[in-house]
Amino acid sequence: MGLLNILMHGEGISDADLMAQISRREERALEQLYDRYSRAVYSLILRITHQPASSQEIVQEVFLQLWRNAHAYQPSRGPVEPWLLTLARYRALDYVRGKTEKQRQREESVDEFSLEVPMPNPEQWLDQQRRAEKVRTLMSSLPEAQRRAIELAYFEGMTHSEIADAMKEPLGTVKTWIRSALTQLRQKLAEAS
């Protein structure tokens, strides 16, 4: 894990260690974690909301959530990064859909690290920047319609039928596009760096 984090972040301190420090209310650890992931989190939220001012508030809310619930984080349940990105996506989609806090609580909660995200294989832990590049490269290589289907799913939160309606494509085709894109993504990320 230490070597992986050095590869990932160029630093000797792991996300899990930072989370432990954050749970002890060490502000410096929050700063470090923020510096690692704020770009990805902000970019994602801005892409979903298209509103810089609201995106700033949501980013702050996501990291404050992390600050408040750091004590509940268990490294055995998975790394921090996917939790942060998942929470950021949910929060941004909730904002776009106008959901209230109460409505959010009724649905699947990611607020307290409740989701289990097993540690991927070491070869998948390319550094964040390289993974991001691989994702973008793959997506840009997809046919326009297929990429659009994935974007509507991920950034707009649409279901299979909604995407089919929006794109005026058969439901089966949409399902195949999305499944195929994700399979390719898995393969690309699994390739040795």
Binding site: R25, L30, V59, L64, E116
Partner: protein
């Protein structure tokens, strides 16, 4: 569908595109804690989270970082004068204090009720003595001595005031037999005796009875005390033990 068939839906489920029967079936399967599918969905969460990098990279404004840290530092300043374990200790102590306080509160509440009852008794007692003193000290009251033929039985004093009422006092009065009570009568010049109340001496034989007889002093010939069954009687059933003429 079995796990092998459901695995096709893991990514779609996490992505949020799954719907209808497929979604219901996978949810139901996951609710049964299937280890294979739970792990598969966990893997899918990681994969889907990586789609975040499809977003065009944009540097976050510095204001977010400042705002976040300001917010955290602000919270810290309010709480930082004690470490987390101290707060936990305080919370535990407060729980104990709250428990003890609740018990004490119940105890105090009980004591308060008892004191209120005692105060009520004392207030009533004080009022009785005040009335008794007023009757006994009034020049308008008529003093009456009730005597008895029984050996060792004390004399009893009564004071009758037309306005304030009738006061009967005694000391070292013997207790009546069990299930018996003393009853005071106003014996009118004409007609049957009128009850002026029942009473029991206290443990020292003391008596202080206040009454408002339903007749006037002028119409009364005497006061008499009989020994009656507990609760009293409408008319005397025994020979009076003490008698005090008013003339």
């Amino acid at each position: 569908m079995d796990c092998d068939q459901l695995k096709e839906s893991y990514e779609a489920y996490v992505l949020g595109v799954l719907e209808g029967e497929d979604l219901a079936e996978l949810k139901a399967h996951l609710s049964r804690q299937c280890p294979v599918c739970s792990k598969g969905v966990g893997d899918a969460r990681w994969l889907v989270s990586q789609l975040a990098y499809m977003a065009p990279p944009v540097d976050p404004p510095a204001a977010i970082r400042r705002g976040l840290l300001d917010s955290v530092v602000h919270k810290q300043k309010r709480l930082s004068w004690m470490p987390a374990w101290a707060w936990a200790g305080i919370a535990a102590s407060l729980s104990v204090v709250a428990l003890v306080s609740m018990q004490q509160a119940r105890h105090f509440q009980q004591q308060t009720l008892e004191l209120e009852a005692r105060l009520k008794d004392l207030t009533s007692e004080t009022e009785t003595y005040r009335k008794a003193f007023a009757i006994a000290s009034s020049s308008a009251s008529k003093a009456i001595t009730l005597t008895t033929t029984q050996p060792a039985a004390p004399q009893i004093r009564a004071y009758w005031n037309e306005t304030l009422g009738l006061l009967l006092t005694a000391q070292k009065m013997p207790l009546p037999p069990p299930n018996r009570t003393y009853q005071l009568w106003v014996v009118p010049k004409q007609g049957r005796p009128i009850s002026a109340g029942i009473f029991q001496p206290d443990s020292n034989g003391g008596v202080l009875l206040l009454s408002g007889p339903a007749t006037s002093i002028a119409d009364a010939a005497a006061l008499a005390i009989t020994n009656e069954p507990a609760g009293g009687q409408p008319q005397p059933t025994t020979t009076p033990i003490w008698v005090g003429p008013l003339s």
